[in-house]
Symmetry: C2
């Protein structure tokens, strides 16, 4: 049902922007043929779950679920340009396929369609407007986080607390927002909605840290991507940030990242240095800390045992994945 509503939200089948958007969403391959390769749709699932778990009607949350997934995809399209990423999930990124200029347009177009999902309804106009405001608070934070992420690239060192504050904005905000939006759209009282949002942001932080961990220590057979890619692209993910705070590892990382392009040997040396300085454990502990924070928040909610179990299962699905 969600996929069908997402497809309708993209609109205009004859427009090249709609076609490019279907490519982004995974419904079309590089030759314009039908495909089914979409993302995990975690954010819309959170939006629908928020409505349902607190006793609202799941249908009321659909415009929010559609909007947040389209915003997530708009942000991916612009991020990939900024990061010069050539591939995602084994397909050329949007800019690699359509050029940078048109990829900017595709991201902007997905953003317009996200807003349209909430302006066009259905459902109570006051609730939809509130959901739009919540979504835009999160988009604003996400863009602030993205600004910082790019800014960190040109720095010699980044403190772990700076990195975590960036990730809270860049990733956490858009995982908290769908929970707030879903509950607001379903008519749940504002205090409960805000609590859900806080829980989602903690889960989001743990999720991103786990993502950073898997980017270096994940099993390529399970993640579907190289566990040297982040380092080869000189990303400053949390393990690297921890490494830069260690005198020995810093020298190895700085030397490797100062090269025009890293050789596989350089990447191996960086991983060895990270292993030596305990960055893997520090990273795992940080993820655990935020997962525990999410769980602590959960215990302050007024939930029945079955509901609490559902929330825990979702947190676990998002955080404890290996891919």
């Amino acid at each position: 049902m969600l996929e069908e509503t997402l497809k309708r939200a993209i609109g205009g089948s004859d427009s090249p922007l709609a076609s490019a958007s279907r490519y982004v969403m995974g419904w079309e391959d590089e030759h314009g043929r039908a495909a089914a390769a979409g993302g995990k749709r975690i954010r819309p699932a959170l939006c629908l779950f928020a409505a349902e778990s607190l006793g609202g009607r799941v249908e009321d949350a659909i415009p929010g679920a559609v909007a947040v997934e389209l915003v997530h995809n708009f942000s991916l399209v612009h991020d990939e340009i900024q990061d010069h990423d050539l591939e995602r999930h084994s397909r050329p990124t949007t800019w690699a396929r359509f050029g940078e200029g048109q990829a900017i347009n595709v991201g902007d177009y997905l953003y317009t369609r996200a807003v349209r999902a909430l302006t066009d309804g259905p459902g109570d106009v006051g609730r939809r407007m509130r959901a739009l405001a919540i979504l835009h608070e999160a988009i604003g934070q996400m863009i602030e986080g993205q600004w910082q992420d790019l800014e960190f690239e040109s720095r010699d060192s980044v403190q772990p607390h700076e990195y975590l504050a960036m990730v809270a904005r860049k990733t956490g905000a858009l995982l908290g927002a769908p929970l707030e939006m879903g509950s607001v759209l379903a008519g749940i009282p504002p205090e409960q909605s805000a609590q859900l949002g806080e829980w989602g942001r903690a889960v989001g932080l743990a999720f991103q840290i786990q993502d950073d961990f898997l980017g270096i220590w994940g099993d390529p057979d399970e993640t579907g991507k190289s566990n040297r890619g982040d380092i080869m692209r000189k990303k400053k993910t949390l393990p690297i940030v921890f490494g830069l705070a260690d005198a020995g590892a810093r020298d190895v990382i700085s030397t490797a990242y100062a090269r025009p392009a890293l050789a596989p040997d350089d990447a191996d040396r960086v991983v060895a240095a990270l292993d030596r300085c305990g960055a893997a454990r520090a990273c795992a502990e940080e993820a655990h800390r935020h997962a525990a924070n999410a769980d602590r928040l959960l215990r302050t909610f007024e939930l029945g045992p079955r509901q609490a179990e559902q929330f825990r299962a979702i947190a676990s699905y998002i955080i404890d994945r290996r891919a």
Copy 2:
């Protein structure tokens, strides 16, 4: 009053994105110092005028005026990246100052602030939601137009009717929208709002054609920019599109545009060819046709003589400018 509301809409003085946004809006110079170099604010003026002229309260239209001006600036920031423009109004463009990646973020941020102006109010929520939908219909068209404009760059020839359909989307839509938004926000009946929008789109089309004309035959002392710039950057503006439809001019243009970079002599040869084939007159006639269309539409509105005079004065201000 509008400038103050725009400044509040940007928000957070300590955020680098807010600071970059102030640069875009003309309130800060390259060194972060206060400046007063903003644009003409035509779109918000249209929004406020629509409310006032039809007997509504101008205050009700302010969120729409703010939103449309921020959207206009978001589109300029992304356009400049796509067109590789280094300067606007004698200042470095946003990407030239902050880099392409961050300029994408600045445009996205301005877009979020535009939506926030309408989600946060004040005013009736139903009217604000309707204004958001109208604005997003226009943004969608604007991006479709921008996609076509980029696509035309790689083509050997573009038909005048294709070019005009592109401009109606890229420029016309965001000049029609503020009139519709302003009247909707002020509680004017929908039919009258839609008529106003149609008038605005006709004025917008005439405006863009005049802009294309001035890009080649304008007086640099009045326009403040070179009248060879569009050609040097190989733009396919309407005079060029007319030229490409003429066998003689087409050869001159194609030869010049095939060079890696045009010399001033090449640009002079292109202008001479355009003069010979009557492109200047064709362009002026096309602008006149759309201005006359706007005037014809105006006569179908139920307006008092003073109101009609105001509408005509605005059309004339927008279209008959020399700069």
